[in-house]
Amino acid sequence: MNRHDIIIIGGGPAGLAAAAAAREAGVEDVLILERDVRLGGILNQCIHNGFGLHTFGQELTGPEYAERYADKVEELHIPYKLKTIVADVSADRIVTYVNAEEGVQTVQAGAIVLAMGCRERPRGALGLPGYRPAGIYTAGTAQRLMNVEGYSVGKKVFILGSGDIGLIMARRLTLEGAQVCCVAELMPYSGGLNRNIVQCLNDFNIPLRLSHTVTRIHGKRRVEGVTVSEVDENRRPIPGTEEFYECDTLLLSCGLLPENELSRAAGVKLDRVTGGPVVDDKLMSSVPGVFACGNVLHVHDLVDYVSEEAERAGRQAAEYVRGGGGDGETVVTLEAAGGVRYTVPQFIRPDNMADSVTVRFRVSDVFRDRSVAVYYDGVRVSKRKKRIMAPGEMEQITIRKDGFKAGIPKKITVCVED
């Protein structure tokens, strides 16, 4: 069986940054496996700008951002295989992949970086009632058809869900001459970045109707319209609030789900809230030598944070194959409490931690003028006021190793407070 020091599953922004970082950390034998026809992942269909402000101090388009990392991978001569699907990953890090040139291959990896990204929640999983005609797309599928394949998916479009791709597509469709009737959002707040609400909806006079959902899809062959209802505080449609919107297309931007079927096959423990692997401060999963980063770990708001996280995963995978570090016995659990939905990582191994560890999380509601508080075993160690926090935007705190001088806590709690 062939062997590689590090196998990276996925050649999107996470996989590329992880590969480059692993190589720069001194591991020669890195291989990227990518299922699409080119490197860059979903960024290739994100032709709008706004990427890279944090990383490069510039506003790049998705393909431009991807290109920077793809170029780096090329410059470092990191090998990659395109149109290659990973069929299986085992707990002892045997990777089975398939492609047209080589057929079925199995390779042993010293370490694995999971970077498979996420998928969109489809209509069926949302349980939207009505017919099943043509013209119902997840926002990302429509984005690919428009921006990569060059086709218009509809003339009169209703968008359900205010996730970022839906908001971006509202603007994109409008620019291509389609009429976007409305964006409806089940929750009382938007699921996307505020800047996208402003730039993609407000600037084009596209209404956003919060606490509304689609309660019926009309049209036997092609979408002919949708019935939309207001929902109560339990997200149940309120009878009598139905309104009909005529449209030929329904776009869905109702959440992203980390794609962890391979992780599960490898026995990686998953977090019920994030849908991604449970990881430590080195981004290593419950399976030794298997690391995770990017949207397969948890859904990010900005790709800049994906790159940063992936570089960490790449470096740690390199450290692992060199036999460095060692886990240590002590484990500090990170707990998401009041107003905080989850944290990544979910625990820290302080014996061998970096000087500082970034912990990312999302809040469960819109909070104005509230604070993020951090407790070590019930004792508050920090409290930081935030003007606004929203579920659509990731938040972060930093845990410093020198903060443990007084003693290593068993549990670190992150919560929202007055």
């Binding site: 079925v104 998928r119 069926g124 599928t141 394949e149």
Partner: protein, 479 residues
């Protein structure tokens, strides 16, 4: 026989659902020219595509009815045909759950019926025995009827296999061809269709929820079919092993009950609701129907994880007032296979066999000498052992290019669907042949690539690629 006249067939089958395809396949065992007319763009586009996918053991139907006879014989045939015609079938057994000691006599009467119908291996077991077999079933179950010969089948795969075998043996298929009128003409019939005139000596009516309309064009004694709507939810394969048997509920005071079953592809299926409606095309899912099915299923299996639902769908059963199948020569030369509701899928091959025998006898047709018994389906490449898979990929590299990542379907398999006879002409047709887009992302990722392969193979533009019949085009225009 008038084989030289292209428009004149010995037998014209109306409807390319599972019953029509089974009839065509069985008719092709004889020296008969057969034409199948279908109003949709493909086979398996109505009731056959949206049902419980169950091969019933045969204890439900009243002894002596056509339902009972066809069910038992159909189940036998499916077991055999699944091997010769290469479609997915598994004998997983079924349980009918009884929740109330007072209902045990009802369970016993089902058992008695089954014995009379000739069902093998039936056994009444205790609640604890049921839970031992199926740990996920409710604590409230006090007894159950175990039917080890019940099975699950791929309804698409079976219908397509029947259609392909019929085509291999000479049957012609005409799609997007709706029968508008039927008149007697000489010794046979003249059919007016949306696709021109067709003549045939014999007509087989397998028109599903429209079978009364077709029947009433010809026969004095009228039929009335009521579409009975049934909603289902389908869950991710991740939870497909929640139960291994098909779990039914004993019909009781609370209604007919719903089933919880694994599918042959490893998903978990819950349904159906039952609602009589007027509209024969009303396959809408509704909030009430879905909620009804979900809550009833919890009575059997309290832990069904509905957060793993990947899709919901609605099927229509063709319910006839007499509550039995209407099969046979209803007017001279006109053969009905009408009112085929549950256990219709199970019964289909038996109904086909029976009707073909009637027509063979009437026409004096001899068995076909060079009949092809075997059919090999499109290879399920990802399920093959590694070496075999690699060998296939070497022969056809497109088998190594995965398009549908949820179900592991390659570009080669998608292209194959178009090259079969009858082949796929729509994305739904591709999906039913190889399961592209049937997985947890519900075709989110693979739609563009699958549509491109379909366009390439059919020699059409992307803008012409359809979900199913005309009017269901995916793309509006090229930008």
């Amino acid at each position: 026989m008038n084989v030289n006249d292209k428009e004149f067939f010995d037998v014209c089958v109306i409807g390319a659902g599972v019953v029509g395809c089974a009839a065509a396949m069985e008719l092709c065992r004889y020296d008969l020219s057969v034409c199948v007319l279908e109003k949709e763009e493909d086979v398996c586009s109505g009731t056959s595509k949206a049902n419980s996918a169950i091969v019933h053991a045969g204890y439900d139907a009243k002894p002596g009815t056509l339902k009972a006879r066809m069910n038992v014989r159909g189940a036998e045939l499916i077991r055999r045909l699944s091997r010769t015609l290469d479609f997915s079938y598994r004998e997983n057994g079924s349980l009918v759950l009884c929740f109330d000691e007072g209902d045990i006599p009802v369970l016993e009467s089902l058992y008695e019926r089954g014995i009379k119908n000739g069902v093998r291996g039936l056994k009444i077991i205790s609640g604890d025995e049921a839970r031992e077999l199926e740990p996920a079933v409710s604590d409230k179950v006090c007894a159950a009827l175990l039917a080890p010969t019940a099975g699950i089948v791929c309804p698409f795969g079976m219908t397509i296999a029947f259609a392909e075998n019929a085509a291999d043996n000479g049957a012609r298929f005409r799609f997007l061809t709706e029968v508008k009128n039927i008149e007697r003409c000489g010794e046979g019939f003249a059919l007016t269709t949306s696709g021109g005139a067709v003549r045939a000596r014999y007509v087989v009516n397998a028109a599903g929820v429209y079978s009364d309309k077709i029947h009433n064009l010809v026969c004095e004694q009228k039929l009335k079919i009521t579409p009975r709507r049934g909603e289902y939810v389908l869950l991710d394969r991740e939870v497909g092993d929640l139960v291994s048997h098909t779990v039914f509920q004993l019909p009781g005071a609370y209604g007919k009950g719903v089933l919880v079953t694994p599918t042959v592809h490893g998903n978990l299926l819950v349904g159906p609701s039952a609602e009589d409606i007027e509209d024969r095309e009303d396959t809408e899912t509704t909030p009430d129907g879905t909620a009804d099915v979900k809550s009833k299923a919890l009575r059997s299996v309290p832990g069904v994880p509905y957060n793993k639902v990947i899709t919901g769908f609605t099927g229509l059963r063709a319910h006839e007032a007499g509550d039995d199948f209407v099969i046979g020569e209803s007017a001279p030369g006109f053969f009905d296979a009408a009112g085929i509701e549950s256990p219709g899928l199970t019964s289909a091959p038996a109904i086909g066999e029976y009707i073909a025998a009637l027509i063979a006898e009437k026409s004096g047709a001899a068995p076909k000498k060079d009949h092809i018994d075997k059919r090999v389906g499109i290879p399920r490449v990802a399920e093959l052992p590694a070496e075999e898979r690699s060998r296939l990929i070497k022969e056809n590299p497109e088998y190594g290019q995965i398009v549908c990542r949820c179900e592991n379907i390659s570009a080669g398999e998608i292209a194959d669907t178009v090259r079969r006879r009858p082949g796929a002409v729509s994305l739904d047709g591709v999906k039913r042949r190889v399961r592209q887009g049937m997985g947890r992302c519900q075709a989110g990722f693979c739609t563009p690539a699958a549509a491109a392969i379909l366009a390439r193979e059919l020699g059409i533009k992307m803008e012409e690629v359809r979900k199913n019949a005309p009017g269901s085009e995916l793309i509006k225009e090229r930008l």
